[in-house]
Structures are given as structure tokens and as C-alpha cells.
């Protein structure tokens, strides 16, 4: 069992609780223990774009101090910070790079955070769970599979922040394979499609939902046309724009066929044979359970509900 610091991020505790639940359950199967620090703060999503903006780096850096504290207390085995939300991953990693490379900013940040018990050393490594899985080897994942997702045609959706900018992304920007490898290890079929790194519209969903619906429609339609019957993602905002936003999409594109969108860890939990608390499909919209039941990947309860 390897213990990593786990950084949940705000949405995984609220609207994306299903992402957290499926993550913690499936990680355990792979002997990955995710240790949440007692204190952590919002990463500040997104990365501060003005180059002289030091204030917005405090939030991410403060979390790295939490990792170093956990390591010092021997609660974790390394100085990696495992994130699930792609936006958190991106923000944290970029702040970390700025801190390590810019001596002036480093000093300003130290000076402002004088009330912390330790000064950040710069030695924390921000990683996405997918990277941890890749490092452990896809065979490890495969050997944990109890119910291969045979017949499931999965479109891997990366979105923007998992792959960009270069040096921050977890895989090659143009030709990533990390999600594909995971999907195959779980026994499902990968459906490659043209829009897998196209933006879903992100936070424009707040005040420009029609534009977001347009972008998301394109992504989903391409995946459907390529033959996918389900989409996976690693970002709660993408999940929202591609999933629940389908109601808006249908208003603008009445002929649109709905297609379920789930987190990659939910598919992992399903393939590992874990129970419904772990797969946590109840919160997903549209509901993936009819599809999964129909394909024999999930069992129906005696009372007709899904298991």
C-alpha cells in the first residue's frame, strides 16, 4: 500500500461527490491509499494569468505546504499531491512551476505566508491520478478487473486542462494515450474521436449556456457518430457541461440523442466489481444505469432498480 496526499478540490466534496466516492473505492483496490490533509484550501482555479499576480499563487502553494507537513508526520510515503479534478491539477501544477522558477515570487510568497509553520521547499510533485495509474503499470489495473467492461464503447474525453500547456499536461497534447490505455485495461473498447481535446466551454456555462451547449453538442455528436455509447472525463466542470447540460443541448438541437457521461474512476469501480456506493452512478445525468444494465455490466435489483 502506498500512501499519497490526496487533494480533493471543492467540487469533489459537493457536486462531484460521485467522483470522490468512486476514486477512493477503486484506488483502495489498487493498493493506493489516498490521505486527505485535515486542512486544505480551494486551489483558486484557474491559474493566475497576470504575470505579476502573487496573491493568486498563495492558495495553491499553501496546499503544497500541507503535503510537506503530512510527509513530515509520516502520514504519506512521498511528496506527491494526487488530484482528480483537471482544473485543480492544472492550477496547482502551474503555480508550483512558477514558484520553483521565479525567485522573486518565491520570496514574496514566503514573506506573506509567515504564519505557516514551514516554508515551502518547492519539492512537491503535482500528479493526476491517471499518472499514478500509468506509473504503476496498466497490467496492475488489468489484474484488478473482475468484470471486464466487454462491449462498452468508451470515448475518452480529455478537455483542455489535462493536456495543456506543454510541460504541464499529463500526456502528449495532440496524441494522448493515457485514458485509452486505461479504458483498454478495463476491458472496454476505445472509440477515438476528433473532439477529444476540444474545449467544453468551461465556466462560460454560468452566463453563456447557449454557447456551451453548442460546443458540448459538437463533442458529444462526434463521439456518438464515431460509435461511442458512453463518454469518460476527468473534470467535474466538463462532466457538468457534457452531462447535465444535455437538457439545454436538446433545446437547441431537438434531434440530439442523449449519451451518458461518467468519471473514469466510476468505470474503474464498475470493472473492479465494487458496489453501487462505489460506482455512485445515481448522481450522474443522464443516467448511465439503463445502458450499463442493458449491456449486462450492471445487475438490476429485484424491485426493478439498478444495482
Amino acid at each position: 500500500m502506498t500512501r499519497y496526499t490526496y487533494y480533493p478540490g471543492c467540487t469533489l466534496k459537493t457536486t462531484a461527490k460521485n467522483f470522490e466516492d468512486s476514486t477512493l473505492a477503486s484506488s483502495e483496490v489498487l493498493d493506493i491509499e489516498l490521505v486527505e490533509p485535515e486542512r486544505w484550501n480551494c486551489c483558486g482555479t484557474v491559474h493566475a494569468l497576470a504575470t505579476d499576480d502573487v496573491m493568486h499563487h498563495l492558495a495553491p502553494i499553501r496546499n503544497m505546504i500541507r503535503v510537506e507537513e503530512l510527509k513530515e508526520q509520516d502520514m504519506v510515503d512521498n511528496k506527491k499531491m494526487v488530484t482528480l479534478c483537471a482544473m485543480c491539477y492544472n492550477t496547482l501544477k502551474r503555480a508550483n512551476e512558477v514558484f520553483k522558477s521565479d525567485r522573486d515570487k518565491k520570496k514574496k510568497i514566503h514573506d506573506t505566508m509567515y504564519r505557516e509553520d514551514i516554508q515551502y521547499s518547492g519539492n512537491v510533485e503535482i500528479v493526476h491520478l491517471l499518472e499514478v495509474l500509468r506509473e504503476g503499470g496498466w497490467d496492475e489495473v488489468k489484474s484488478a478487473v473482475k468484470k471486464p467492461l466487454t462491449g462498452l464503447k468508451v470515448a475518452p474525453y480529455y478537455g483542455c486542462l489535462l493536456l495543456r500547456p506543454r510541460g504541464i499536461g499529463i500526456d502528449d497534447t495532440d496524441n494522448p494515450t493515457i485514458m485509452e490505455n486505461l479504458i483498454e485495461a478495463l476491458g472496454a473498447e476505445v472509440v477515438d474521436f476528433s473532439h477529444k481535446q476540444k474545449c467544453c466551454g468551461s465556466y462560460h456555462t454560468v452566463h453563456m449556456k447557449e454557447a456551451v451547449a453548442d460546443l458540448s453538442y459538437n463533442i458529444l455528436k462526434q463521439a456518438e457518430d464515431a460509435g461511442a455509447n458512453i463518454l469518460v472525463t476527468a473534470c467535474p466542470l466538463c462532466e457538468y457541461n457534457l452531462g447535465p447540460r444535455q437538457t439545454q443541448i436538446r433545446k437547441q438541437y431537438p434531434s440530439f440523442d442523449s449519451i451518458p457521461v461518467v468519471y473514469f474512476t466510476q468505470l474503474m469501480a464498475l470493472a473492479f466489481g465494487l458496489d453501487e456506493e462505489a460506482t455512485a452512478f445515481e448522481a450522474n445525468k443522464p443516467d448511465p444505469m439503463p445502458l450499463l444494465t442493458e449491456m449486462g455490466l450492471m445487475e438490476k435489483n429485484k424491485n426493478g432498480s439498478n444495482k
Binding site: K13, T14, T15, W40, C42, G44, H56, L58, M113, R115
Partner: protein
């Protein structure tokens, strides 16, 4: 403890005074001739009326304190903040639920929190203010209630917050939601209320009400004392 019997120099709103060095800021201001109308309340660290900002000689750091609890120092520059301009959002507690987004609905500015920790530095009650704003941000109402419990709403955090959040108002909402819905009422209290309504104690209380002083004294001095849990 830095108190001294010697006289020290302090500046109150810029005006210079010589005061005994072992006085609190509050008493020092009174010694200097000031009668509080605003800025003095319980005088014991409970009410937050005497929120004060000060700097000490040679230091650029702006500190916050309660005037009734902080002893003066030589060269102290003092300003009182008896009121923090903050709109208090109104709500009907009976209509709310302790959902993850309830707090953000009423105090959306919470999402502007930069985690800069200025609020925590300003707090005279040693509360981890930033931490409870963060737990409020992610909908952890119980934790927000727990961390903010000792808050006396002095206003120093709100005055200094760059994101213009009023933490103590956020905390009040969290605490009420937590106590009312997450903790909920104790059943034995509700049971006893019902018993009283059903008048099962009336007869015995009536007897006591009619008893003479001597009878009462007899009962009182010989009453059973059971302090077990």
C-alpha cells in the same frame, strides 16, 4: 507579560498621551480622558465591541486586538473600529436546508477567497478564519460551525479581507444551520416539554407553591442530591 508600572507613550487616533504601562488599551484611553460611547461593551473579551487596530513602534505590521484585553506598549498607534460596514443578508432559517450550496447562495463572495490568511492574522480570538471560510466554500457546514464557534463578531477579519468577505456573517449562518438541522433537537427535551403540556407535574408543583416557609425549608434541606450523569 509585557506590562510595566512605568508610564508609556501611546497615540490614540494620532493624539499623544502618557499612560501607565500596565493598563489595557481600553483603560488607557479612559485614563487619557476619553469616555466611550462606541467601542466599549462587556469589557471582558466576549462581545467584540472594542475591535482595535494598532501598530507598534518600528513595525509595519498592522495588528488587530480587543481593546479590553490588550495591554498597551510604548509607542503604540491605536485606532478603534467600532463598526464594520456590512450588509447582513436576511433569510428565514426555517426555509433553508444545510445543503452544500446554501452558504454560497447567500454569500457568493465566499468564492472570492484567495486563501491569503489575512483574516486569521487579524482575529483576536485565535480562530482559523481562513479555514472556516474555505470549509464554507466547499459546503462543509458542520466543520465551519465547529471552527468558527468562538467568534465574537468583532469585525476585524471583515475589515481586512481583500476579497471583501464578511466571515462572521457566513459563520453565523453555518452555525445555525448546523445546530438546527445537522445536530437536531435532543429527544429528551421534547419529551419533557410534552409532559409539562400534559400537566403531569402540576399537582406536585401546586403543593410546593402552597407550602409554608418551614415546610419548604424541611423539604429543601433534606432533599436528595443526585448529581450522577
Amino acid at each position: 507579560m509585557e506590562a510595566t508600572n512605568e508610564m508609556v507613550t501611546i497615540y490614540v487616533m494620532g493624539k499623544k498621551y502618557e499612560v501607565p504601562g500596565d493598563l489595557t488599551i481600553m483603560k488607557a484611553m479612559e485614563y487619557a480622558g476619553h469616555q466611550f460611547r462606541r467601542g466599549s461593551g462587556c469589557r471582558g473579551g466576549y462581545c467584540g465591541a472594542c475591535a482595535t487596530l494598532y501598530r507598534t513602534k518600528g513595525s509595519y505590521k498592522l495588528e488587530g486586538a480587543l481593546a479590553c484585553q490588550k495591554i498597551v506598549e510604548d509607542g503604540m498607534y491605536i485606532a478603534q473600529i467600532p463598526f464594520n460596514p456590512a450588509e447582513k443578508i436576511t433569510y428565514n432559517i426555517n426555509e433553508l436546508r444545510p445543503d452544500a450550496n446554501t452558504i454560497l447562495e447567500y454569500y457568493p463572495e465566499v468564492s472570492r477567497c484567495l486563501s491569503c490568511n489575512t483574516c486569521t492574522k487579524a482575529c483576536p480570538q485565535d480562530i482559523m478564519v481562513m479555514d472556516y471560510v474555505q470549509t464554507a466554500l466547499r459546503g462543509d457546514i458542520a466543520k465551519t460551525a465547529e471552527l468558527s464557534f468562538d467568534c465574537i463578531s468583532c469585525g476585524l477579519c471583515a475589515v481586512r479581507c481583500p476579497a471583501e468577505i464578511v466571515p462572521y456573517n457566513v459563520a453565523t449562518l453555518a452555525r445555525r444551520l448546523n445546530a438546527k438541522y445537522i445536530d437536531g433537537p435532543s429527544q429528551h427535551v421534547l419529551d419533557r416539554v410534552k409532559e409539562v403540556e400534559e400537566e403531569i407535574y402540576d399537582e406536585d408543583i401546586d403543593k410546593l407553591m402552597k407550602a409554608s416557609k418551614e415546610e419548604l425549608a424541611e423539604l429543601y434541606n433534606n432533599r436528595e442530591v443526585d448529581l450522577s450523569e
